[in-house]
Structure formats: structure tokens, C-alpha cells
């Protein structure tokens, strides 16, 4: 059986060895332990010994040539034994170091154009590198500024942060084109979205809206809430108190608790308050029935349950129809004040802003109070200015003096 003679690691750090001289030659008979060749390692000249008995049939790495550790340098076999391909095996020899370096230009043949840099815009269209500081690049990418359009004021034309900052915040047209190029998505209207669209168009266009804005002092209401929450198991929100106050006020102002019915106005004796709830698809207005007759705890519990059912899309039609007035609260989004669109056939909606500590003049001194701005949208066909204003006056009384709710 043929035995391969490999370049051995003759020192701990040896990676390749140079055959200084073969002491045995092709055709010589060798015995295990015979010195086949002298090998120059990184440290010294060492002996490469035979590991088998037989005839040195083939020498693949000649005198003066170098072979990597572990590579085939010769073959020992029986005198007439077939050594197959072994003798022809391409030796991993390196006579000089040329073959390796020659290989490099060959690999970089004209077809292998320099790979396009994977990194983001380090060059402009002409392929010329744009010099920009790392910070300038980051700011540019955050603001959508094209560095190719920015001239650098730093050394050698380097674009620095101030250049990007003073650049036109992206050619807006180009940016839009960019978005268009990124494609778009046509989303079919969900039934809910269709209903929102239809009902709100029915609202704003044909209904002659007008708006009344007021700012309430909420200190006492908030204090009352904190006190109640400290005792009770049901947590009451500011919005629950607003709902309760609006419901109680509507009880006193039936003129605002009404529906426009084209040829007549329907005034309700009961107060059913619609509350706007944001859901994934849009919004829906579940109704708290007889809100004026319910305790704050009942309103809080019901409002939470309805909101949860609304978000889960589990409301039954009777749960989101039949409201007589609406409350919409965007305070949790930090909105100070806004105008809401009337939810027809109701005649009014109260848009509630965020509770905000503000400096106010009180008893001749400036003090910080928690204030809240509300805007009432009114259907002028049903509610006149003074009517709405009087209603808001009552809401104010109730929110600023919570005891007035049960007065």
C-alpha cells in the first residue's frame, strides 16, 4: 500500500518547510526511520524521516522548493505497486512565492469589475467619493438630505454637520418622487371606514356647525377623583367625570339633548351619551345609556367595558346607536383643544383636551391650576349660540364644583 510522505511540522511554529536537499531519490529503497530529506523550517534545518518501508517512488517537491505543513511531498510504495494518481497529485509547493502573487492579477480579470460598495452612498452618481463627516452622514440620512447636492465647507470640501443643517431640507419634490417610487398600497375600505366616511361627510357638509370653546379649572374635580380612587376599587378617570357632568348638564339643557330630523327636532327626555373610542380601523361611539342616572362608579365600569368591547370589535348595534349627545376626548394624546365633527343625527359633541397645569390669576395672585379646554360643536339648526353657551356654563359649574353634579 502506498504511503504518503507529508511535510511534517518539525517545529511548534512551523507552517511550511523548504526541502533543502533530498537525501533519498526516486527509486531508492527506504526503511522506516531513514532520513529522506533535510528540511529548513522557520528555525533550523531538520530531518524528514520515512514513516514506512518501501521504495521512494515519487518526489513531488524538489530541492529548494517549499511545501506547506501537511502537504504531500513524496510517495513511498512497493517497487511495482500502482500508486495511481498520487504521483500526479498537484503538490502544494511554492518554489518561490510567485505563483500566489501571479494568481491575484489573474483573478482580477477585466470581467471582475470592482464590487459595488455595499455601504450607503459613499459616492455620487459619477462614482466619485463624497467626503462627509460621520455625523454629517447620519444627519443627512435622518433628514433625507442628498449629500451629492450639498457643498462641503470643511477641509478639502468635507461636508460637515452645519452644511447638512443649512442645506434645503431635502428637495421636497425629489423626496415625494422617492416615496412614489417606493410604491403604494391600495387598501379597500372596510365597512367601518365606509361608514365613518359617509356619516362624517353627512355631518360637516350639510350641518351648519359652530363652535364654542371654554377652559375649565379642574383642580377640584381632579382632587375629588384622587380621593375617590384612593378609596374605591373602581378607578375613575377624568373622562368618566366629564361624561357624568355632561350627562347631568344635559338633563338641565334639553335643548342640547336632541336630534335633527329634517322636518322636526326630537328632544330626548333621557340622556344617552355617545363616547368616541379609537379602534384599530377608525373610531366608533358606544353609548352609555341613562348616563345622567348612573353613578360615577357605574359610568367608569361601563365606559371601560364598552371601550374594550369596541376595540375587540364586539359591540352590538344597539350598543353604538341611539346616543343623544357625544363626548370625544383626545387629552390622552396631549391635544390641548380640538373641534370634533358632529355625529348625526345628534346635535352636539364636546371635544375634550388635555388636563394641563397652567398659571392662572386667582384671587389676585398667580397660581398653577390644572386646566382643561373643551370645544362644543353645535348643529345650528338645533342649538343656538346662547343655548350652547348656557349648557357649557352648567358643565363648567359641575366640573369646577363637582358637588353641583348632584345638586
Amino acid at each position: 500500500m502506498a504511503t504518503k510522505v507529508l511535510m511534517e511540522a518539525l517545529s511548534p511554529t512551523m507552517e511550511e518547510g523548504r526541502i533543502a536537499q533530498w537525501l533519498k531519490h526516486e527509486g531508492d529503497t527506504v526503511t522506516t526511520g531513514d532520513v529522506l530529506a533535510e528540511v529548513e523550517t522557520d528555525k533550523a534545518v531538520m530531518e524528514l524521516q520515512a514513516r514506512a518501508d518501501g521504495v521512494l517512488r515519487k518526489v513531488l517537491v524538489g530541492d529548494g522548493q517549499t511545501a506547506e505543513v501537511g502537504s504531500l511531498v513524496a510517495v513511498i510504495a512497493g517497487a511495482d505497486e500502482d500508486i495511481g494518481d498520487l504521483g500526479a497529485a498537484a503538490p502544494k509547493s511554492k518554489p518561490e512565492k510567485q505563483p500566489e502573487t501571479q494568481a491575484t492579477p489573474a483573478a482580477a480579470s477585466p470581467t471582475a469589475a470592482p464590487a459595488a460598495p455595499a455601504a450607503p452612498p459613499s459616492g455620487d452618481a459619477a462614482g466619485e467619493r463624497i467626503k462627509a463627516s460621520p455625523l454629517a452622514r447620519r444627519v443627512a440620512s435622518e433628514r433625507g438630505v442628498d449629500l451629492a447636492a450639498v457643498s462641503g465647507s470643511g477641509p478639502g470640501g468635507r461636508i460637515i454637520k452645519r452644511d447638512v443643517e443649512s442645506a434645503v431640507p431635502a428637495a421636497t419634490g425629489a423626496a415625494r418622487a422617492g416615496w412614489a417610487d417606493e410604491g403604494y398600497e391600495d387598501v379597500p375600505l372596510s365597512q367601518l371606514r365606509k361608514t365613518i366616511a359617509k356619516r362624517l361627510t353627512q355631518s360637516l357638509a350639510p350641518i351648519p356647525h359652530f363652535f364654542l370653546t371654554a377652559e375649565f379649572d379642574m383642580e377640584r374635580a381632579v382632587e375629588a377623583r384622587e380621593e375617590l380612587n384612593a378609596r374605591g376599587d373602581v378607578k375613575i378617570s377624568v373622562n368618566d367625570i366629564v361624561i357624568k357632568a355632561v350627562a347631568a348638564a344635559l338633563r338641565q339643557h334639553r335643548a342640547c339633548n336632541a336630534w335633527w330630523q329634517d322636518d322636526h327636532i326630537r328632544y330626548f327626555n333621557d340622556v344617552h351619551l355617545s363616547m368616541a373610542v379609537a379602534v384599530e380601523e377608525g373610531l366608533i361611539t358606544p353609548v352609555i345609556r341613562h348616563a345622567d342616572r348612573k353613578s360615577l362608579r357605574e359610568i367608569a365600569t361601563e365606559a371601560r367595558a364598552l371601550a374594550e368591547r369596541a376595540r375587540a370589535r364586539k359591540l352590538k348595534p344597539e350598543e353604538y346607536t341611539g346616543g343623544t349627545f357625544s363626548v370625544s376626548n383626545l387629552g390622552m394624546f396631549g391635544i390641548d383643544e380640538f373641534t370634533a365633527v358632529i355625529n348625526p343625527p345628534e346635535a352636539g359633541i364636546l371635544a375634550v383636551g388635555a388636563l394641563t397645569p397652567k398659571p392662572v390669576a386667582l384671587d389676585g395672585t398667580v397660581t398653577v391650576r390644572r386646566r382643561m379646554r373643551v370645544t362644543m360643536s353645535c348643529d345650528h339648526r338645533v342649538i343656538d349660540g346662547a343655548t350652547g353657551a348656557q349648557f357649557l356654563q352648567t358643565v363648567r359649574l359641575m366640573l369646577e364644583n363637582p358637588l353641583a353634579i348632584v345638586w
Partner: protein, 327 residues
């Protein structure tokens, strides 16, 4: 809060730690009867006696080795080198014995010791006695390297160094010993490995330590007055372990940095700091980081040349002009 010198702050730290722990002792040339070449150990021989304040022959390698041996058997030696220039004779004990002992004994042999003394240039002490060696020691795993700039930091850091269970190289400064500053009356320590903002600013970070903190502060003042540049001065205080988060936080704020050190530029502390910044705060940089160092020459003896070779505010201001693109 009392205003005392850096020298007396070190003296207080030594005294307090020796009172606190009977295993702490001070050894070095002239530390006892002469009360220290720079009077850092004033009064200590009288208070603690010659078993704990040990005068040695002029034999740095020998007494550094005695210190290593004492630490190995459980004492907490403080070895004073009259200057770190002389400590070159002892560096085998510092690097090969002290720094390696915990590692090579798998923590079985303790090495809680401090090597301390003045480093860097003073005035006209010439090439052989005017060298800042912090980068040499900071290069060695196993050593902590501390270089305080103020009396407050000097006291707090020396106390932490003495209590630390690792060998600590503590670099003072001949030109710092007379610097005065406020030091609390009550006990305190400054943790090793924490940098300190000596002056907050928003336009550029001046990273410095030891004597260059004063250079940076002076530069910051002039930058503010002359150029309207608001420089932040970050004192590293400890070179190793380096407070990388503090450096990164500052550079993220200012987007540019100039590093000032007493040592030579090649493989200096600033080179290491630059490496950390480019890796950890790359996207925050608006300019290359520049360094101000001692000129890359042996320190000249000639007074004017010496002044020119040391880092000074003009160079810092020039560097800031460049990183802030003011030219």
C-alpha cells in the same frame, strides 16, 4: 471644607489609610527622616514609627521587590518612587511581578499595593527626568493606572488605590504638589475608573488628565472668551480602567474631541482614547479627533525649547479651531 495643597491631600490620604488599616505601610527613598523628597510623607514617621515608614537605600528594583513580597504575604505596601523616571530601574518588579501575580497564581497570591510618585516633566530637569510614563503602565494588563489633577481627586483616589486589591500605579506631579484646592473635612473616596467633567460645555470635548487638566481649563476659558466656543473639559482621572462611557457621552454631545496629554504621541493615552471614540461614537463625529501631546522628542533642557515641547493652550486652541471648522 478646607483649601489644601495636592501634597497635603496625599499626606492626608496616607495618614488616614494607615490609621484605618495597620497593614498599610510606606516605603521608599527619603520617606522617613527627610519626610519625603516632596514632603508628601511629612509627619508620618513621627506618628507611625520606622516599622511602617521605611527609608530605603537608593535601590529601586530592590525596594519595589520588597514591596511585592510584602503584598504577597498580606500587607498593603505603598511604594514611593522619588520620581517615575527612577522607577525604570524597578519596572521588572512592577510589570513582571506585581502585575502578573494575581493572574499567574489564579488569585491565590494577593497583590494589594500602590506604586506612587511624581511623573512627567517639572522644570528644566532635562530629558532623563522629564518623562510621562502612563502609557507604559496602562499597556500592562493587571495594573490600574491613576493620574489625579486636583487635591480632591488626589486624596480620594489614593485612598481608593490603597484599598484596591490590585497593584495600582499612581502618578502624581512635581508641578502639581503645590496646587491648592478644596477638600472636604469628612472622609470620602473617589472610585477608580471614573472620569470627571471639570467644566461642562457643548461645542468640543477636551479630554485630559493630570497636569493637562490645567492646560485644558485654561484653554477652555480662552476659547470661551476669544472664540465663543463652549468647551467641555473631561478629566480621565483613571487611565486604566478607562471610563469609556463618560468619554462617549461627552463626545456624543459635542461631536468633536481634542485629547491632551503630557506624554509622547506615539502609542500614547490619546491613541487609545481615539480608538474608543471612533468605535463607540463614530456616527457622532463631525471632525477627526485631534491630539495635543509633548513634542515627539526627548525633553529639551533649554527653557524656551522645553516650554515649546510641552502641551500648551495655544496648541489646544489651534486644534479646537480645526475640529470646530473655525478657520
Amino acid at each position: 471644607m478646607a483649601t489644601i495643597t495636592y501634597r497635603d491631600a496625599l499626606n492626608q490620604a496616607l495618614r488616614e489609610e494607615m490609621e484605618r488599616d495597620p497593614n498599610v505601610f510606606l516605603m521608599g527613598e527619603e520617606v522617613g527622616v527627610y519626610q519625603g523628597a516632596y514632603k508628601v510623607s511629612r509627619g508620618l514617621l513621627e506618628q507611625f514609627g520606622d516599622r511602617r515608614i521605611v527609608d530605603t537605600p537608593i535601590a529601586e528594583l530592590g525596594f519595589a521587590g520588597v514591596g511585592v513580597g510584602a503584598a504577597m504575604v498580606g500587607l498593603r505596601p505603598v511604594i514611593e518612587f522619588m520620581t517615575w523616571n527612577f522607577a525604570l530601574l524597578a519596572i521588572d518588579q512592577v510589570v513582571n511581578s506585581a502585575a502578573k501575580m494575581l493572574y499567574m497564581s489564579n488569585g491565590q497570591i494577593p497583590m494589594p499595593m500602590v506604586f506612587r510618585g511624581p511623573g512627567g516633566a517639572a522644570l528644566q530637569l532635562a530629558a532623563q527626568h522629564s518623562q510621562a510614563f502612563e502609557s507604559w503602565y496602562a499597556h500592562i494588563p493587571g495594573l490600574k493606572v491613576v493620574a489625579p489633577a486636583t487635591p480632591y481627586d488626589a486624596k480620594g483616589l489614593l485612598k481608593s488605590a490603597i484599598r484596591d486589591d490590585n497593584p495600582v500605579v499612581f502618578l502624581e506631579g512635581e508641578m502639581l504638589y503645590n496646587v491648592k484646592g478644596e477638600v472636604p473635612d469628612e472622609e470620602y473616596t473617589v472610585p477608580l475608573g471614573s472620569a470627571d467633567v471639570k467644566r461642562p460645555g457643548k461645542d468640543v470635548t477636551l479630554i485630559c488628565h493630570s497636569k493637562t487638566v490645567a492646560v485644558a481649563l485654561k484653554s477652555a476659558e480662552r476659547l470661551d472668551g476669544e472664540l465663543g466656543v463652549d468647551a467641555e473639559v473631561l478629566d480621565l482621572r483613571t487611565i486604566r480602567p478607562l471610563d469609556v462611557p463618560a468619554i462617549v457621552e461627552s463626545v456624543q454631545k459635542t461631536n468633536r474631541a481634542v485629547i491632551i496629554e503630557e506624554g509622547w504621541p506615539f502609542c500614547g493615552i490619546g491613541a487609545q482614547v481615539v480608538d474608543e471614540i471612533q468605535r463607540e461614537a463614530f456616527d457622532y463625529l463631525d471632525a477627526p479627533i485631534l491630539r495635543v501631546t509633548q513634542a515627539d522628542v526627548p525633553m529639551p533642557y533649554n527653557k524656551q525649547l522645553e516650554r515649546a515641547a510641552k502641551p500648551h493652550p495655544e496648541q489646544v486652541i489651534d486644534a479646537v479651531r480645526r475640529v470646530a471648522y473655525l478657520d
